[in-house]
Structure formats: C-alpha cells, structure tokens
C-alpha cells in the first residue's frame, strides 16, 4: 500500500497541480524523460482520456527526470493529461513511496486500494497498453492498425528544419515514418541507417513515381529532431506530424516497429506497408 493520494509533492513549474486524491481510481505512475519517453507519456495521456467516462477510472502521475525548463516546454507543447512533476523536486517522496533510487525509467500500476499490481523498468508505450488491457480494459472495438487500403492523411505537419507549419507531402508518397516508439533509438541509430540508404530511398521513390519524405510523430522534441536532421545532412524533406496517428501507434503496438515505410497511391491510400528491415531487404545486398 502506498497511500499515494495523500503524498505531498512539490510543484516545479506553473503548469503543475497537486497530486489528486485517488480513491476508487487506478493510478499509473511513471518515472521517465518527457523527451525520450514521450511515446509512453503520450500513451498514458490517451489511456487516461479513454477512461474518463462514465467516470474517471484512471489517474496518472509522471515524475519527469528532465530539467524544469524542458518539462515546461513539454507541458506547453503537449498538454498532457497526466500530472507531470519534476523528479528532482520530489526525490525523497518518490524514494519513500515508490522506491525510486535513480532516474531510470519505471512504470507502476496501482489498484484503487493503492496496491502496486505492477512495477517494471524501461517500459515502452506498448507495455502500458498491454497492462491496462489486462487490468482495466475499456469496452468497444479496438483501433485497427494501419493496413494496405487505408487512407493515410496527415492531420497537420511542420517542416522539421524550419519548425513552421507547411502542407503535408503530396501523394503518391514514400514515407519513412519514425514512430517514436523509442525516440532515443531513432535519433541515435535509425536516422543514421536511413541516411545511409537515402540514395536508395530516393531511387526507389523515383522509380515508383512517389514523393520521398521523412515523417516523424509528435513524440519527438522538435529541436532535437532539427539538430539531428541537419547533422546527418539529409536531402529528403522532413516533416513532423503535429497530431496523433493512432493507426500508426497501433501498428507499433502490434509489431513493435521503430520505423515504418508507408507508400501511398495518388488517392492517398496505403499501397504498401513495410518494416525498415523488409524495405532494406528489397534494396540492399547482405553485408559480407
């Protein structure tokens, strides 16, 4: 038992509110970075939203390991439904109530009695969804993952290089979609891989009459993204989607993909969907 609802935490920025009383409510508590665990925190928000009616059944608190400035920027940008607190201002309470001893990302699920029913390190967004499907399922048909034939409309995008709103890329499209399942993995590894095969991507798009583009979900920090795109010297247009892409999220949930290749026809319908591995299989020979 944690008695978590009565714990006192220190507000670190003006967007913070006190921890709400949590009687009769399940509670998700996460420790993580608003930059590198953004997909998890976003999923927490959407799972809380799904459980608002007929009455709120899920609460959420995130102890962010980032600086107050980064937390502030994130809260302004993303308007999360979870209470975001700076871990650095709540170290002792987090240690006492949750046993948090470092800044490694953690996920806790507490039942309405305050009992911890799950505790796990290095959680992914898909882990939270699986946990809530098990302990606190919601009624209704689940969202379908993106599939061939679906419309692939981007609700709004910004130019990654200029951070300004622009028109989405035209169809037919060859989109290299960075899902944000692990933003650090994308920034450190997958973008490098994409850069290494950029010419092959352009060639493939040219042959198919498609517009090649890098697409990033909203889970990435725009400033980090801009730096990385510029550092790697990409030629391809790069867009960040400003709203949710639930069909992509569900694809990530099902297949755990960090990068998805989405090709569309002139009508904007998905004509081909592939993992990065499968895509590379078609354009690269084995390393030997």
């Amino acid at each position: 038992m944690l008695g978590f609802g009565v714990a006192q935490f220190v507000a670190a920025h003006r967007g913070e509110t006190p921890i709400p009383q949590t009687a009769h409510q399940w509670q998700v508590i996460a420790v993580g970075s608003v930059e590198y665990d953004a997909a998890l925190i976003h999923t927490i928000s959407s799972e809380v939203a799904q459980r608002k009616k007929p009455q709120a059944s899920l609460g959420a608190v995130v102890f962010a390991t980032d600086t107050p400035q980064i937390i502030d920027e994130y809260v302004k940008r993303s308007a999360p439904r979870a209470t975001i607190l700076a871990l650095r201002n709540n170290v002792e309470t987090a240690r006492r109530t949750l046993g948090v001893v470092d800044t490694q990302s953690q996920l806790y699920l507490l039942d309405p009695a305050g009992k911890v029913v799950f505790r796990g390190g290095k959680p992914r967004a898909s882990d939270l969804k699986l946990l809530l499907q098990r302990y606190l399922p919601v009624a209704g048909a689940p969202q379908e993952p993106l599939k061939v034939g679906d419309s692939f409309r981007l609700p709004g995008v910004t130019n990654v290089r200029t951070l300004t709103s622009i028109a989405p890329p035209a169809s037919p499209l060859l989109g290299i979609v960075f899902t944000g399942r692990c933003t650090a993995c994308a920034l450190e590894t997958h973008m490098g891989t994409a850069k290494a095969v950029e010419r092959a991507i352009e060639k493939r798009a040219r042959q198919a009459g498609e517009t090649p583009a890098l697409l990033f979900t909203s889970y990435f920090n725009p400033n980090n993204l801009r730096s990385r795109v510029n550092d790697l010297g990409f030629h391809l247009d790069a867009y960040q989607v400003t709203a949710d892409l639930p069909a992509i999220d569900d694809l990530v949930q099902r297949d755990g993909l960090d990068v998805v290749i989405v090709e569309t026809n002139a009508a904007g319908q998905v004509s081909r969907l592939a993992s990065l591995n499968d895509f590379l299989q078609n354009i690269l020979e084995v390393k030997e």
Partner: protein, 329 residues
C-alpha cells in the same frame, strides 16, 4: 585494423586450439515463415519435433505452435506465471520451458501447458541460458568469476566453471582499459550437445569454447574469418558501427562478434551465428564443416536454429516474423 588482426594470433593454454578452415558460406534464400500465430517483436525461435517455440518480447510471452494451434505462456506482469521483457529461452527434454525473465530479474520455468513450475532470481544478471540433460540450468554469469554457473531448478548454485579471458589477451594492449571490467567481455551464449558437453560462444570476442559435462575445458576455437574483421574492429569503439548489431549488457554498447550458438542433434553439428550474418556449422571437435549466410539482407539476424529436416529458422532484430531457409547440409 591490421594491428587488431595481428593480435588475434593469441596463445591459448590448457586446451587444443582448433584452426579455422576457410569454408565457403552457402548463400541461402531466406523467407518469412507463416506460423499461423500472432506475434510481436521476436527474440528467439526454437524447434523441437513438430513444435515451434517463439519468444515474443513485445508481448512478454512464449508461443508454442503445433500443427497450427498455439499455446501462449506468460504475458505481461510480475506474478509467478507472468513475464516482463523476456530475453532468452530454453527447452529441456521434458518439454519444460525456461525463460530468462529479464524485467522480473528471474529465471522462470513452465510446463508445456504454461503452468508455472517456479523459478529463481537471475542474480547477477545473466546472458546465455541452456539446460543440460541432467536438468541443470546453465547461466552465463561472468560477474561470479567464471564464464558459466550451473543451478538446480530451485536456484541453488551447484558449480561454476570456465576461466575468464581478458580482452587484452584477444585484442591487444589497447584493450587493457577493459581488463578491469573483464566480466563485461566474457558474456557468452550457451548450448549443450547430446554428450552433455557445453559450448559457449563469446558475444564480444572471436572465441568459441567447449567444456565437458563436468566443466573441463576441452577446446578453444579462434574465429579468424576475414569477413569478421570489420565486426571485430568495431568492438569497443564508441559508438559502435551502425553496420552491425550491438548490445548493452553492462552499461557499454558493444558490437557482437557472435550472436548465438545452438546444437543440432540430428546431424550432431554446432551452429554459431557470427556478427556478420554468417552461420558457422562445426563438427563435434569444433572444426568447420560448412557455413551459410542470407543471399539478401533481411536485417540483423539474432538467433538461428536448424530442424531435423535441415530447415533453418531465424529471428531478426526488431522483426515480428520468423524467417526460414532450406540449407544443404
């Protein structure tokens, strides 16, 4: 790079050193296998008779597929029959299933229906899991001062064996900086053969060892394949090359020189998956018999298994598919 290669001619004591015959790796066409079972990101595939065991790290469970029907073992959670971020899998002769339940920091044991048979803490954190014919659970735990430790099913450590190898012995003086953290470089994958011998492939060094059932070193084999030179040259380089798969077990991201080792009982061969997608096929003495590699790149292979028919099964990093290929033995 030339210097590193020259230093690979290190001397091995106490056991015969088997040279590396330069066999040609057969190029095989790799296709996705339709398992008729829903899967997420897979970490390992094992086949026994008509059963295929799949470790699905994304969904925190093991699938046992037989004739199109599937038994699901585990699922996300902290309970005795749950798994969280499972990392490795072994199956014994009684069809018991052993899972390195990484997120729950334990070794979990199940029967083939998915009923928990208990388990024990995986402390210190292991890499490499195998089960002997006598039911010992073998874990690669170099932090304990030996390569491998053997446990009973209750988690009592029975013995440890295998001398640790200093990285500078293999890679030369420039790797002395890693010698103080020798355990990090002695991470091994483990397989057992029909005679009860224990095989270990070093994840971060070009080395394969064979031990007797009692843990006596029988053979050490240097992996001196020219095409492995690029992989070896990137071990310990920060950051590791994107061209090869790497792993962070002990706080440092290191390129993997070998990724898996398995024993194929029907042909009595040992398969060693190298860090460049090539699989070595070794005989009982550790001599090269043959080898194979994918004809086209399908992603970084992480696990290889050969069925009685000669069909080879693979898992690929971050992929939800099992791949297979027909290999001429």
């Amino acid at each position: 790079m030339r210097k590193v290669l020259a230093l690979l001619g290190f001397a091995m004591a106490f056991a015969p050193v088997i040279g590396s015959a330069q066999t040609v790796a057969q190029a095989v066409s790799i296709e996705k296998l339709n398992l008729s079972a829903g899967t997420g990101v897979l970490r390992k595939v094992i086949a026994r008779g008509d059963r295929v065991y799949v470790l699905d790290a994304q969904n925190h469970h093991v699938l046992v597929v037989k004739n199109g029907s599937t038994v699901t073992i585990g699922g996300i959670g902290n309970g005795p029959a749950d798994l969280y971020q499972p990392f490795d899998l072994a199956v014994d002769s009684q069809s018991r299933i052993y899972v390195q339940d990484h997120g729950n920091k334990r070794i979990s044991i199940f029967d083939d229906k998915g009923t928990s048979l208990g388990g024990f803490p995986d402390t210190p954190k292991s890499l490499g899991l195998a089960v002997t014919r006598t039911g010992e659970v073998l874990l690669g735990q170099p932090q304990l001062g030996s390569l491998i430790s053997a446990y009973d099913k209750s988690g009592h450590r029975i013995r440890s064996f295998g001398a640790l190898v200093r990285p500078s012995e293999i890679y030369g003086p420039s790797y002395k900086r890693f010698d103080a953290n020798v355990a990090m470089f002695n991470r091994v994958r483990i397989a057992t053969d029909d005679d009860g011998n224990i095989w270990a492939a070093f994840a971060y060094m070009p080395l394969v060892c064979k031990f007797s059932p009692a843990g006596q070193l029988l053979m050490r084999k240097k992996l001196e394949y020219p095409e492995l030179a690029q992989v070896i040259a990137s071990v310990g380089v920060q950051p590791p090359s994107d061209a090869f798969a790497s792993m962070n077990m002990d706080g440092v991201q290191l390129t993997m020189v070998t990724r898996d080792i398995e024993y194929e009982p029907h042909s009595r061969r040992v398969l060693v998956l190298l860090g460049n997608e090539r699989t070595l096929v070794l005989d009982n003495a550790g001599r090269d018999v043959s080898g194979f590699r994918p004809a086209k790149f399908v992603g970084n292979l992480q696990n290889v298994w050969m069925r009685e028919s000669g069909e080879v099964l693979f898992t690929v990093y971050a992929s939800p598919a099992v791949y297979h290929a027909a290999v001429i033995r």
